[in-house]
Structure formats: structure tokens, C-alpha cells
Symmetry: C2
């Protein structure tokens, strides 16, 4: 099928010796006579009638109330009746019964599981259905990702995995034309941008702010053109976007699933209650009324919902009748035509209408479905899972890279069989909109974490094998995943060990290392044997409390490491038997901590931060920071009974309670690091930390167990109050890529009636947020997705943790009240905010690399004792570091001979004089140990040759219709990257 020929094409290309264009398409062309899928397979419509596109579909959460595998098998139906294996069984059966019928399937995580259990004859049957457009894949990623709490890197990965499976299984007919995010709770602009670059012709979703919807219904702007990037040249990131009429449900009274109670069509006049006339009348009323709020003579109806079609006969039998009886009225003059359809067939008709469409450039956050129901809680829900997901992505990228750099031995080597696939799948399901979003049941959250941990086990074997090959040493490699709480049995007890620091970035990295130790003095030397400045500081009381007997180190060894691009270096650590005592902590608050870049002052009376200065730019702001909690609404409220919950944030007062007006403090000042440790309460503490070589101030917060003995749910924030004159503006990133401007009590596309002064001003922060005025910009880089807002001038608040006592009635049916066996009294969460103070025109030059280092952080592995003398202590997979603007987004083994490479320009067009420039990279000279034999460019999701990617063109109402971007033939090895551009390549490589 297509994938084969895609491979053939690449192989052919390689044989031709590196020619960068290729003639071959997908093999469905070879069998064109028997294949009619995609737009060609759509049913005819009637130009002079209102055409109602019935779209049978199921929405199969990749985990929510049940785990993904419970959903697949239909286990634990006592929790929720849902069994995806049966859905696919049943739909295929029913499609075969009537060639007019259509079905769309969305979540490849499930389809894949089902497919591999099918007989080859069933597989052949399904291929035929796909080839005839009767079964159509839409979206097609491994899951339907969350948009508020995901990072673009992981989203692209999961989409790539799902679409690759479809491509390899079904070829071109399996390629989704439409993106389909019917359930996520608000929509990120970056998602739209990615979908555009993945080649989707259009995008449909179900949820948006109720005020926004109302205005759009009146203005007939529920279908629009979304220009999803301020940097990419239109129409590269233009995405036609349609808002579905009923979320993703059928119109009222027309749900014929086994889970519904709507009356079936009873068309036997011999039996009681013949209701055909009534059904047809009700349907026509709904159709005509729906047509009033859309532009064309086509409307769509989503005939399905959560886990529906387990018994597809119920749906199709009644839909067959509906179509028959409604269309029968045409002979009596009815002007309504109903047909089985798909989102792409509907989209095709919209495109054929050749209208102009409202242009949108902002996003769809926050989402409120009623005046007091803002879905802004999940931006922060389950902060520990959100961090684990983010660090897992970093580990996976390292795993992927080392699979490429280490060669085949990495998958089967001295440490056994390893793989990256397990972790890829675990990460892919974790992107689901009830996974990293934190809106699943507790047992399901545990399952996602377990899957990630299991994936990482598989990766560890691979990483060990790979590093063994690269270092020429099979010495046992120890992983310490709990360094954030100063736990690492090896370093706690060993007198001599080495640390391998792998840097997954394409640039050298400088990184502070803190290792739990029990000695008081150590020597550290780098790969060249050169001693490195190191300091021993005491483990803070907060850390001792939260690690709960998982480790017993009394001190931490702190030193700065530097690792080469896409490579590692090695540090040796030895206990000094008679070294100096560790740095002593000082009670009370120092006036100032300072390194060569930053100066931080504190208020000696309160123990709080008081100012921040950038010594290089010579700018300074007042900065106080403290911790507060909002009292979560318990639903007992005159305005609304909505409580705060996993989805919804609803403080019952706009004024948060301060947790401690003052902080007890102590400090440590060493040459490597200066720390001010603050205690705000028994359950909130923080370390303000300044490493010697860092341009960012680290705030390491520890929150929990959030007390609930007062029966009050609490939403814990930290708030930075500054002298910056923000004028009610602040800025947040979209999925870790482009920045969006936010304004208090304001939405760019409609006249907002604000009804929740706090929750209605919260936005997702995936990697950073900033506030600024003309001279100062304070950027906060986060280590996970969080919610935040700027409620007061100069202020930025970030929600860190939530503990709630009521379910918010959106289905999860559990209060978000996290405990674990280690923390039965409530989860303790620790994280870091990195603060960067800069001049606005150059702030991105600082925060882009800073955030990049947080997203892809070095992986430390440890070896006890002395290393073998032949061990290769340093390695870089690159011939040279990439330019600062270029991020190596993906380096991953594709198949035996080829690797997937994504290069990204990580600056927006406007944000840096230095870095917002086009830049080129030479692919042939990229790697130090890999020969690149050939290259083919792909779309972002790697399921289509870039040169064959043709998308519908759409005309915006305002502004010129953009010229269609012509495909740039990569005629040389030099590939250019413009601001925010991601280019995806399939490289044929061989290890040197």
C-alpha cells in the first residue's frame, strides 16, 4: 500500500544517490479502477435543496472513566458501558449491509488494537470499506489530544504515530482529510497550525464559549477560516474550521444508540404507535432551524456520541429509515435531502460553495459552557501527572535520539531488548484530552503514569544499550528518576561514581546538577579530568519530608555540567574523606542574592522577594511573590450550583487567601548556587535559587498535602506582583510554540460579558507566560502545563495545585482529591518556575532557549566506581551545534534504514532581531556519525510527501486570499527554515 511505495520511493531515491525529488506517489494510483475513496466517494447532493449530512461516528476516549485497555475490551462496564472492540466489530458488519452507509473512525490507539486481532480476511474486508470511502478515518492520530495542556512536540509525535499506522495499513485512502476535535475543552491556535501543516483540509470541533457560539450563530460564523500563526506565511497555517451544531451529539430526539432512549422509527402500520410522520416532522423542523445558523445549503449532523455504535445496527437501521422517509417527501415538494456523509464530504460541499469565510487569528480559550462554568481548572488539574508527562517526553526524545545514534544494537544489546515503541505509545495515549488534562478518574490517571513508567523501563534498556555502544563500555548504568526529591541510592552511598550527561538539544547545554549524597565534600572532574567547582549543601527540610523514606541523603552535591549537542559528556565524582564541611545554612533572610547576571533582593521583614534586576541589561523591577489559595466553590451558591472540579475552576470569592503573609527563611550561599529557602506554612515552601551560571531565577515550589480538614476545597496559586505596567495585558504560549496576547475581561472576537472575574481570566500556560511594558518583560517558564492569569496590573498568577471536594458534574464523577499510598493525606507536588527579566525586544532570545532546556532536559545516568579506561567519555551526534534559532524537534528511527528528522525554527517572526531570521541547515553535514544518503520531505505528520500535499484553498472575508504556497523543492542539502517553520524529513542514513 501507500507506505510501501513511500518506502519504495525513498529507496529508489537513495539508489539514485541522493536526488532530492522523487516521482512516485502512493500506490493507490496503481489500482485506481477499484478505489474510490476520499472526496470522490461522497454521495451526490442536491443543489436546490437543503442537504443534511448525517455523520455516523463514535467518540472513543483513549481513557477517561476507564483505562484505555478497559475501554478497548469493554471491561469494567460497571463504571461505564463501553467496549471499543465491539464498536469496530459492529460498525464493519453494518457497513457491509448497505453500501450507502458511512462511518468515520478517529482514535488510532483503539483501531490499532482492534486491527491486530483481526483475521486477514477481515482485514481485507475493512480495506475494501476504506477503499470505497465507506469507512473513513478522520483526525487519525493515536488519540484526540488535549489542546490546553499538551506540548506541541508530543502532539506531533502522537499524530505521526496514528497517521503512520493508517498510511502503512491503508495507503492514501486511509489518510484523514479532516481534523476532528469534537470533545477537547477549548481549542489552541497551535493545534490549528499543526493540523494545517499536517495537510488537513478542515477542522471540526464541538466546544466553544457559549457567548462566542451565540454570536457566531447569529452572524453565521460557525464556519470560519482560522489563521493559526502570526509567523508562517498564509495559507501554511490557515485551517478551515467548523463548529458542529450539537457538540458532537445528534439532534434531540434522534439518538438511536443502545445508550439512548429516543423512540425508534416504528414504521410497521400493523404494530402500535406508528411514528414515521412524527419523526419526519420533527426532523424537518430541526434541519430547517439548523440551516438558519449556517451559511450554505449544507448542514451536518453528528449521529453518535461517546462510545456509541457498540451495536451499530440500532443506529443504522433507524438512519436508513430516516433517510428513506424524509427523502420520500421530496416527491411531494419537500426541499430537504438527507444523506449519509462524512466530515470530509460535508467539507467538500462547503468548499464547492466558494464563499468567503470569517477570519480568526486568536484562539478558543477559555471555554465556558455557561456563565459560571469556566473550564479553566483542568489547566492545572493533576499537576504531578502533568509534570510526569512532560519529563517523559524529554526522556522519550532522548530515547529516540539514542536509538538512532546507537544503531540497531540499541534495540538488542548488552542490556537486553529495549524499545522506544512502548514509551511512544504511552506518551501518545497520555496526550488524550482526558489524560494529561487531568480530567480522568484517579485509577485511570494511575494507569497513564504506570504506562509511562513502563515505557521508560523499555527505553532505559535501549538507552543503556545505545550508550554502551557509544561509550564502548558495558558497565552497568543506573537511572535516578527521583532526583527532584534528592533520592538516588547510588550517589547516596557511593564513594566514587561517574555521571553521564546526555543532552538531547542540538546545542551545548549548561545545566546545574544536584545529587543526593551523604558525604560532606566531593571532587568532581569533567571528561578531560579537569576539576569542576562543586559544593555540598544540606538537603532542605521540605525535601526530607516529601521523600518519605525513599532516600536518606543529608546533603546535595551541586555542580554545573556542560554537555555537547545531541551527545553526552562524563563527570567523575569522588568522595573526599577529609574535605571541608558543607556550606552552612544561615537563618533569616539575606538582603540579596546575586550572580553575574541577576540580582535578587528580599524583604527582610517578610522573607519575600522584593526585586529582580538584570545586571546585563541594567533593568530592575519590583517583584514580590507569595502563595495563596482560592476557596473552591462547593456548588452551594445563589448564582450557580457549579462547584470547582477536575474541569471547572470556580473560586467562590475573587480574593484568594494568603497562605503565609511572611515566610520563615534560611539561606545558603555558595560559589555554585545561592538559595533562599522559604516556609510559608507547613504545606507550602519554596527555594529561591540562583545558580552561578544561570540567567534565570529558579523558584522551586513544594505544595501539599493541601489541607482539607476545614472542608474547603483549595486552588493554590503563586502570584508575582511587579512594578511592570501591564495595562491588563499578559501573554501565554500556545502548546509551547507561539505566544498569544491576553487581556483581562476581553476576547478579541466578541463583546465579552464577564461573569467569573478570576476563572474567566485564566488561560493555559504550557511552557511560559510573560507580562511586559515598554521596558521590562518578566517571563516565567514553567516545567509543566498550568493555568494562570493576570488579574491585577503588573501581576501574574499561576495555579500550582488543586484539591477539591466535589465533582464538577462533567462526567468524571470524582472530586479531584488526589492521594497516593505514599501520600495518603494528600499529594505533595514540587515544581519549578524559571524567571527571566529582559528587555521586550530581546526577551525571546532568553526565554526560547530557556524553555527549550526545560522541555528537553539532560538525562543523567550513573555508573558506580571507576570507568574502564577505554570508555569514550564524550560524544556529540552532530558535526556542529545548530544555529540558536533551530530546534532539533525530532530525531527518531523510522525503519531499518531511515530516520525521521524534524527541524524547527523556534522564534516567531517578530520576537527577536537576532533570531527571527531565516536560517539554513545542511542536512548532509548534520550528523557526526551518520551518513545521510538521501532525503525526502514530508508533511508535518509524516504521512504524505510534502510535494503531494494539496489542500483546499479558502477565501477569508477580509484580507487578500493568500497565494497558494508552492512547494519548495529541496534541491540541495541546504534546507531553509523561516520563523516558526517546522520541516519534516525522512532521511536514509547509515552509521559510519
Amino acid at each position: 500500500m501507500a507506505a510501501k511505495s513511500l518506502q519504495l520511493a525513498v529507496a529508489l531515491l537513495f539508489l539514485l544517490g541522493g536526488v532530492l525529488s522523487f516521482p512516485l506517489g502512493q500506490d493507490t494510483k496503481d489500482t485506481k479502477d477499484t478505489v474510490t475513496c476520499g472526496y470522490e466517494s461522497c454521495h451526490a447532493t442536491k443543489p436546490n435543496m437543503l442537504n443534511v449530512h448525517l455523520v455516523p461516528h463514535t467518540h472513543d476516549d483513549v481513557g477517561w472513566l476507564k483505562t484505555v485497555d478497559q475501554y478497548f475490551y469493554g471491561d469494567r462496564n460497571d463504571i461505564q458501558h463501553a467496549g471499543v472492540q465491539y464498536i469496530l466489530d459492529s460498525v464493519v458488519d453494518q457497513l457491509l449491509k448497505n453500501p450507502d452507509r458511512r462511518f468515520i473512525y478517529v482514535e488510532t490507539a483503539f483501531f490499532y488494537r482492534w486491527w491486530k486481532q483481526q483475521s486477514s480476511s477481515m482485514q481485507q474486508t475493512v480495506k475494501q470499506l476504506v477503499n470505497e470511502g465507506r469507512l473513513e478515518f478522520v483526525n487519525g492520530g493515536w488519540c484526540m489530544s488535549d489542546e490546553a495542556t499538551t506540548h506541541y512536540s508530543a502532539v506531533i509525535d502522537q499524530m505521526t504515530m496514528g497517521l503512520r499506522f493508517l498510511n502503512e495499513t491503508f495507503g492514501a485512502c486511509g489518510r484523514p482529510r479532516v481534523a476532528w476535535h469534537i470533545d477537547p475543552f477549548g481549542h489552541a491556535r497551535e493545534h490549528a497550525s499543526m493540523f494545517a501543516q499536517m495537510g488537513y483540509d478542515g477542522f471540526f470541533f464541538g466546544r466553544l464559549d457559549y457567548q462566542d457560539r451565540n454570536r457566531r450563530m447569529l452572524a453565521k460564523e460557525q464556519e470560519l477560516l482560522w489563521r493559526a500563526s502570526d509567523s508562517l506565511t498564509p495559507p501554511v497555517a490557515d485551517l478551515f474550521t467548523g463548529i458542529l451544531p450539537n457538540g458532537y451529539n445528534p439532534p434531540e430526539g434522534f439518538c438511536w444508540d443502545q445508550s439512548c432512549d429516543d423512540p425508534p422509527i416504528r414504521d410497521d402500520p400493523d404494530l402500535e404507535d406508528y411514528n414515521v410522520d412524527d419523526v419526519v416532522r420533527r426532523f424537518l423542523t430541526i434541519a430547517n432551524s439548523q440551516s438558519m445558523v449556517y451559511k450554505t445549503n449544507h448542514i451536518i449532523m453528528t449521529m453518535g456520541s461517546d462510545f456509541q455504535y457498540e451495536n451499530a445496527n440500532l443506529w443504522y437501521k433507524n438512519l436508513d429509515k430516516l433517510i428513506r422517509y424524509v427523502n420520500a417527501l421530496q416527491s411531494n415538494g419537500s426541499k430537504v435531502n438527507v444523506l449519509y456523509s462524512t466530515p470530509s464530504c460535508y467539507l467538500q460541499e462547503l468548499h464547492r460553495a466558494n464563499l468567503t469565510w470569517a477570519l480568526k487569528t486568536d484562539d478558543f480559550f477559555p471555554y465556558a459552557d455557561s456563565a459560571h462554568d469556566f473550564w479553566t481548572g483542568y489547566f492545572t488539574s493533576r499537576p504531578a501527572l502533568k509534570r510526569y508527562e512532560r519529563i517523559s517526553n524529554s526522556n522519550l526524545q532522548t530515547c529516540n535520539q539514542l536509538e538512532v545514534l546507537g544503531g540497531p544494537v540499541s534495540r538488542k544489546g548488552p542490556f537486553g531488548e529495549g524499545d522506544s515503541q512502548t514509551m511512544k505509545k504511552a506518551m501518545a495515549v497520555a496526550q488524550h484530552h482526558d489524560a494529561v488534562s487531568g480530567t480522568e478518574k484517579q485509577h485511570v490517571a494511575n494507569d497513564y503514569a504506570r504506562k509511562l513508567a513502563n515505557g521508560w523501563q523499555h527505553c532505559q534498556v535501549l538507552v543503556s544499550n545505545s550508550l554502551a555502544a557509544l561509550t564502548d563500555s558495558s558497565a552497568k548504568r543506573i537511572y535516578c528518576d527521583n532526583l527532584n526529591i534528592s533520592v538516588c541510592p547510588l550517589t547516596e552511598s557511593s564513594k566514587k561514581f561517574s555521571v553521564n550527561v546526555y543532552n538531547p538539544l542540538a546545542r551545548p547545554v549548561t545545566w546545574p546538577v544536584r545529587l543526593p549524597v551523604n558525604g560532606t565534600a566531593y571532587t568532581v572532574s569533567d571528561a578531560n579530568g579537569k576539576p569542576v567547582d562543586c559544593q555540598v549543601v544540606s538537603v532542605s527540610k521540605a525535601t526530607q519530608e516529601v521523600r518519605r523514606n525513599r532516600g536518606f541523603a543529608v546533603n546535595e552535591l551541586v555542580f554545573q555540567v556542560q554537555a555537547p549537542p545531541l551527545g553526552y559528556t562524563t563527570y567523575s565524582v569522588s568522595l573526599l574523606q577529609h574535605g571541608p564541611p558543607p556550606a552552612s545554612t544561615q537563618r533569616g533572610t539575606p538582603t540579596v542574592i546575586q550572580n553575574k547576571f541577576l540580582k535578587v533582593t528580599f524583604d527582610a521583614d517578610t522573607g519575600l522577594l522584593s526585586s529582580l534586576s538584570n545586571l546585563e541589561t541594567q533593568q530592575s523591577i519590583k517583584l514580590t511573590q507569595n502563595f495563596y489559595w482560592y476557596n473552591a466553590s462547593d456548588g452551594n451558591n445563589s448564582l450557580s450550583i457549579q462547584p470547582s472540579g477536575a474541569y471547572i475552576f470556580r473560586p467562590n470569592s475573587s480574593t484568594p487567601f494568603v497562605i503565609g503573609k511572611t515566610a520563615k527563611t534560611e539561606s545558603i550561599q555558595t560559589s555554585a548556587v545561592q538559595e533562599v529557602r522559604q516556609w510559608f506554612s507547613p504545606w507550602v515552601s519554596q527555594v529561591v535559587r540562583l545558580y552561578a551560571d544561570s540567567r534565570a531565577l529558579e523558584l522551586e515550589w513544594t505544595v501539599g498535602p493541601v489541607p482539607i480538614h476545614d472542608s474547603l476545597g483549595k486552588e493554590v496559586i503563586t502570584r508575582l506582583d511587579t512594578s511592570i505596567n501591564t495595562d491588563e495585558y499578559f501573554y501565554t504560549d500556545s502548546n509551547g510554540r507561539e505566544m498569544l496576547q491576553r487581556k483581562k475581561d476581553f476576547r478579541p472576537t466578541w463583546q465579552l460579558k464577564q461573569s467569573e472575574p478570576i476563572a474567566g481570566n485564566y488561560y493555559p500556560i504550557n511552557s511560559r507566560a510573560f507580562i511586559k511594558d515598554d521596558v521590562d518583560q518578566l517571563t516565567v517558564v514553567t516545567d509543566r502545563s498550568q493555568g494562570g492569569g493576570s488579574i491585577h496590573n503588573g501581576s501574574l498568577e499561576i495555579m500550582l495545585h488543586r484539591r477539591l471536594l466535589y465533582d464538577d458534574v462533567r462526567g468524571v464523577a470524582e472530586p479531584l482529591n488526589e492521594t497516593s499510598h505514599i501520600f495518603p493525606e494528600g499529594l505533595v507536588v514540587r515544581g519549578r518556575l524559571l524567571l527571566s527579566l529582559d528587555r521586550p525586544p530581546s526577551a525571546a532570545d532568553a526565554h526560547r532557549p530557556l524553555a527549550e532546556e526545560v522541555v528537553l532536559q539532560p538525562l543523567l545516568t550513573f555508573t558506580d566506581g571507576d570507568l574502564h579506561p577505554n570508555t569514550r567519555l564524550e560524544f556529540s551526534g552532530l558535526q556542529a551545534a545548530l544555529p540558536p534559532a533551530v530546534h532539533l524537534l525530532t530525531l527518531s528511527q523510522w525503519d531499518e534504514d531511515s530516520v525521521l528528522l524534524r527541524l524547527e525554527h523556534q522564534f516567531q517572526s517578530w520576537e527577536s532581531k537576532v533570531n527571527s531570521q531565516p536560517v539554513t541547515v545542511n542536512l548532509q553535514k548534520l550528523f557526526s556519525t551518520l551518513d545521510v544518503l538521501g532525503v525526502s520531505e514530508l508533511n508535518l505528520s509524516a504521512n504524505q510527501w510534502k510535494g503531494e500535499m494539496k489542500r483546499f484553498d479558502w477565501t477569508p472575508q477580509k484580507g487578500d486570499k493568500p497565494l497558494l504556497k508552492t512547494f519548495e523543492d529541496p534541491s540541495t542539502w541546504e534546507v531553509a527554515l523561516r520563523p516558526m517553520e517546522i520541516r519534516t524529513f525522512l532521511l536514509r542514513v547509515s552509521l559510519r
Copy 2:
């Protein structure tokens, strides 16, 4: 198919001029090469293993919580998720996927609805499945009838209708081999007798007394031979009977329907929670434990339940896996073999085992599933529906007879198109075990009644057409269905009208007529113009109250009519303008009322009956009678929380409350009738009535609205206390046929531990009960099914009405608290008990014809004004009345040229010196207006030639194995009937 050849055979026979044997079988023989159904199609079993027969099945109530058509379509799934159309769709699909799979279907009422909606190709597919034994019909009647509250006449009819459809549609392969009453709440011996005579090889059910089950499990007597008649020669009424292991449910943990939550088999080792080993282990444990309480190395498991298999894939997918994984262990020495099977395949293995089986001669009433949970309430529940069902049967038999006697014009004649089919179907569904049983929801009860009323509308047209043909008059014919409450607009206002009295019995009948009138004097003359004694009496106050403005007659005209066998006569009624005043009522109680047969005395102080004497036999008993109510348990009880409800009777005290210790009385004594009208309370009254020519004393009771303002549920009984020395014995009929002996606190087959002194001594009374000693027998003939018992010596109590405030937690989820728009404050019910006092050896000579007259009562139709002079005033369809022992059970049009005839010997072998003798009837000389051209004898259900009916022979543990009865060739037109024998004939007839 079979039916065709059955028809062909009859036709051939007719051509041969009435030869009474016939050579042809069923046409499946012609295509034997491609047909392997029935026992031949069973899967092989393994002789040295425990064979577990998995029987996939669905139990589809023909109405219960929803109406039958709601169940069919899956409407009102908010009440209960159930849609039979989808079940059959799905099962057929799934059977096609794997030829090993099996399914049984039971309720032809549903299958018929489904079948007629299928395409011919689907019909062909289903025929193939039936021909291969993959889809097997069991039971196969229109419904699964109730056994406690049905009359054999209607049960035979509904079975005949269902089995006829299967025969005509599928031929021999559609003929059920097994009767299957998995849900009815106790089992009647007469049902077993009927099933035996219908040719079933065996019978399975699910419910029996928990004590009985426990004993049978220990004794391995859950499979037994039921000798179901004391009159028919074994093995005519012998029925092999199996008690299913889990009611009709799957073993615990193995329910894989969409309605269940048991874990599916998760056999993909790549997914979480692989559970094959656990499932197999649990299954083997259950199978081995089940095998300990059955005799053979075969056990059966019912894999299904109520309305299951709507998505059959769930079941079959997991059953396929179960079979695969359990049997896979055989290679490791496991001795358990699992297979898809059917009840008949299981039965065949039991038969092959060639063992002896416990013999049972009593019945399975009452049914208790726990110490305080006796299902004896439904014997009486919904007494109005029970009566309406019974009178509807009478009307339907009249309709059937007149369709035959009137010829084709009856179906299409001067009054339009009429049919008996609608009413046949209505009556058939009314036999369901949640229909006439009274255990359905109120709206469903209403639907059954509506269906019966609608059926009667169709029949009225037919009857009018037929009578028009027979009378030679198209005068408009008026039906008065509410004569029991003295409502008939015509007679109330007309000055001259005629009454046609049709008698559906094969003997002349004498019948008292009471017509509501507003005149004070009338003349009545018979068909010969001869005046008839008539009297006008005032309408009782009780009647005036209950008719609620539906009629306004102040008087009733009373006279005795006599009608010829299977025919009618006509009476003319004229108002006398200056006639005498009506008979006056006398306040107070007379000492005695008396006619030439009976003498009845009253206690002047109490107004109650005090004695009854038979003047012919010169016997006399003390007899008092009064009304009482048991206080229904509300579930708030230390012994058990079981309340009384639609199913369960549970008085919270064994002593009932008397409703009125004394009765207010008045009396009317005329030459035609003598009445003592008794008022016991505002809601209980009675008329004790003695017609001039009657040998039975009529007690017409009126009960309701049962008051509930005291928040007490009430179960109203009447109790007859006599001087008869009953020694704790009494007698009740089984489905209106044979009488069974009952004894207080005793069961014939096990040592009863009585835990409910009243409810545990209640039994169903379908048509009569009696108490007796050596010299006196008091028989009470009822007009509907009721529950009753004999708690004290000489006493017989009958429950008349129930009004309850709590649901009894058996699923119906409604308290049995009947109201209607006419009786919003509670239903009023009226009925009749007929008392006959006789010498025991000859009592049946009285009660058999008496009950026969109640079951098939004359139909009165009215014509206003003068009849046309040419009107034929009298007609009998018979050449002569049949002998007293012979009941004409069925006379019904079969197809254009043939009619179905059933003749019944209505006496048990022991009950009458005179009548318990064989008797012969000449079929050729039977009818006065029909020529009988040919005759073929059939089995009782008319779906098999009698000569081809071969059943498994079984050996009882005790007693001789009966000789197989050889088929008696009806070599002459004379057919013999022995006690309790029913013979079924297909006659080819032509109207003279």
C-alpha cells in the same frame, strides 16, 4: 415447506374421498441432502468427559414493563433497555460468522413481527440457519404462557398459532422439540400434559420452590419424568422435565451481554489485565460443582437472560474464546469439554444416557424463592384483567365458530371486513406469563386490554356478517359488553327489540338473561313466538354505583333463555305500556330462598348465609360466607423485608380482618329469580342469587374501591365456612382441566417446612375448587383465575381483589394499586362464584358442565325494533348435541377449505360413573350445514400429523416403563374419546 405438504397431504386425502390415513410426511425429506436440523445437527460430545452445553438464548417477555410492540421496536428504553427487532438482527448476523454457534428462539409473537419485515434474501438466510440447526426454535408458541392463571383452551390456541407459523415458515426444521418455560412462576401439571400431547420430547424450566430444589439437588432429581395426567394412558402425558441450574441465567461471572458487567475475556497479552487463566479456572470450578447435582456427564448452562443478545457479538465473541481456551486444556489432561448446544441437543444426550428418572405426579405450585416469598399473589392480581381475558376467550371461540359456520361471507360481508386473527393474536399475547398473570406494569395491562378490545371489534364485524348470513337478515346488530353492570343503551331505551342468543357449546344451554331496562313490565317471546316468563327487578344500588354514568337503567328484565348447540335462537322483547309494577325489594333478610333444586338459608341476625341444601340429593351443609382482608406486608418486618406485591402474597398476619361482621340486606323474590342483596361495607357487597332453573347458587360479589387511606395494603378474600369435614384437604383444577388434591402445610414430593401459614397454602384456581368429605362436596366454580386455600377445616377461601402499596421487588417496580379514569379512587371489580353441592361420586357431573357454561357463555346480540319476517330465528350448527362427556374445544377456520376441530373428553377417569366412560363421535355426521369431505388427525398443537408424532421414551425410576402408545388409525369417521383425551382434527369441509 412442511405446511405446504401438510396441506398437500390433506388435499390428496380429500381427493381420495375421505380416506383417513395418509402417506405423506413433511417435505424436508425431499431435500434431506441439504438439511441437517433437529437432533442430527447437534455438535459431537466427548463420552469420557464432562460435557458442558452452552445454550445461547434470550428471554423476551411478550409484554411486561413495556408493551409487546414497545419491546419489539425497542421503544421506551427509558423503562427497560430491550428491543427484540435488534436481537434477531444481531443473532442472525452472529450465527453466520461461525457455523459452530447456536441460538434458540422461543416467542413466536416476536419472531413473526420480525420475519414479516425481512427481505426475502434474509428470510432465505434464516431458513438456511434453521435447516442447519444453528437457529433452533424451542417452545415456539406465540408466547411463553403463564401456568397459574391461564385456561387450557387459550393456551392450546396460542401454542397452535405460534407453532403453525413456524411450521408454515420452516417446515419440520422449525418444529420445536423442547418446551421451554424458563420464567413462569410455578408450573402446572396440565401444561406438562399439553406439552406432552403437543409432541415435545422434553421440558425445561427455571423456577421451583427453593426447598424442592435443594432436595432435588442433593438427590440428583433436578431431571425427572413428569406423569401429568391421572386419566391419560402413559406415556401420553409423560414429559421429561429438567430444572435449569441458574434459573435461566448464566453462571455468576459469565454474563457477557451488553446488559451485564462481567469481565470480558481479555486474551491479548500485549494489553493490560490478560485474564484467560482466571476465566478458565473460574469456569471449571463452576462446571465441576454443577456436575455434582446432575446425573449424567452432561450439564447445561443457559447463556442469556431477559432481552439479551441485542448485541450478540458480545456474547458470542467471548463464548468462542471460552470454548477455545477451556477445551485447549484437554491436551493437558482436562476432562471438561465445552460446546455450543441447544436444549434439544442437551436433551438428546440425557436420553442417550439411558438412565431411569424420578417420577413426579403432582405439580410445582406454589412457588417460593425464599421462606417468606411465596409467589401466590399473582393468582389473583388484576382480577378485572383476568376476567376480561376469560370472557374474551369465550367471545373468540364464538367468533371462530361463526367464521366456520357463516362461511367466507363472515370475513367480508354486509358489515364490512371482519376477522378472527386480530383477536387470536390479542388472546395469544394475553396468555403471556406477565399478561393474564397480572404482573405487568399498569400501562402494559392497559395495552393487553386494549388489544383484546380491538380484537373483539374485528370479531364483532365477523360475527355480524356471519349471523347476517345465518339469519338471512342484515339488520344492524348491537353488542352490549357491559351487561354485568347493567349497561346497554339499546335495551335501556327501546320499546321493542330482539335478542339473538348464540351458544358456543355443543349442547343446548339454559342461561339467565338480565337486561337493563327503564320500563316496569315487558313481554318476552321465544323463536316460536311462545311467551317466556320474565320479571322486572330493580337495579341494585351497588350496580348503580359502579356503572358511573355509563348507563341509567333503573330496572333489569330477567328471563331464562335456551339456545341450541353451536347455534342461536332469538327472543323478542316488548315494553308493556300498562304492565304490572316491578317486583319490589324487601328490606331485611329472608330466612330462605329456594328453587326446585336448592334451598339456601340465611341468618336473620347477621344477614349471612347459613346453610345450603341440595333438594334432589337431599343433602345439606352448614354454610356461612363472609368477606375479609389480609393486611399486606409492607416489607417492614423482622422475619423478612418482603412486601406483598403483584407476584408475592404475604399477609403480615395470618388472621384476616372481617370487612363486615353482619351484612345489611334486602331481597327480591320473583318467579324467575330470587336475590338477597348484601352490603358488608361501602366497598364490599354481594348478591346471593338463585335462578328458577339453576342447580347452582350464584354469589355475585362487588369489591372496591379498596380503601387505602389507612396506608394499609389489602388482599380481599371471601371465605366459605362449612360443616364439611375436610381433614385439611381441598382440591383445585389445573388450567381448567384435571383436579389436583391439596393438603394444608404439605407437599407430595418433599418434607415441607412451612414458613408462611397463609400464602404458603394458596394455590391457583382457574375454574373451580372444591372441598369434600365422604358425603358432601361443595364445588365453587369461578369466572376467572383466582388464588385460594383451605386454611381451616371445612373452609375454602378465595382471594378476590388486591390493592397494594409497595412493589414486591421482582422487577415490575410498581405497587399493584389499580386505578382507572373511571375509578380514580381505585378499581371496583365484580365477579361471580357458582356453588354446587353434590355427592362426591357425582359432583363432576354437575361442575363439569357448569364450568363449561361459564367458560364458553352465550353471546347476546341485539336488534332494535321488529325483525324482518324472513329472518331465520333459530339455528344449530350441529346435527345433534354432543354427548355430555364431549366438549367441542375448538372449531376454527384453518384455511380456505379446512377447519380445525378439537373434541375433548371433559371428565377425568375417576370422577363420574356416568361420564367417565369412553365415548365416540361421528365426524361425518357432526355438522348440520358443513359437509366433512376428509379428516386428518394432528397432534394437540396441530403442527404435526398424529401418525408421525414420535417422542423420546423415558424410563421412570419406579413403576413400569409404559408401553409406547401406538397411533390409532382413525379408520372410520367414528372417533373415540377416553377420559381427558383431546383429539385434534383437520377437516376438509364445504358449506352445504
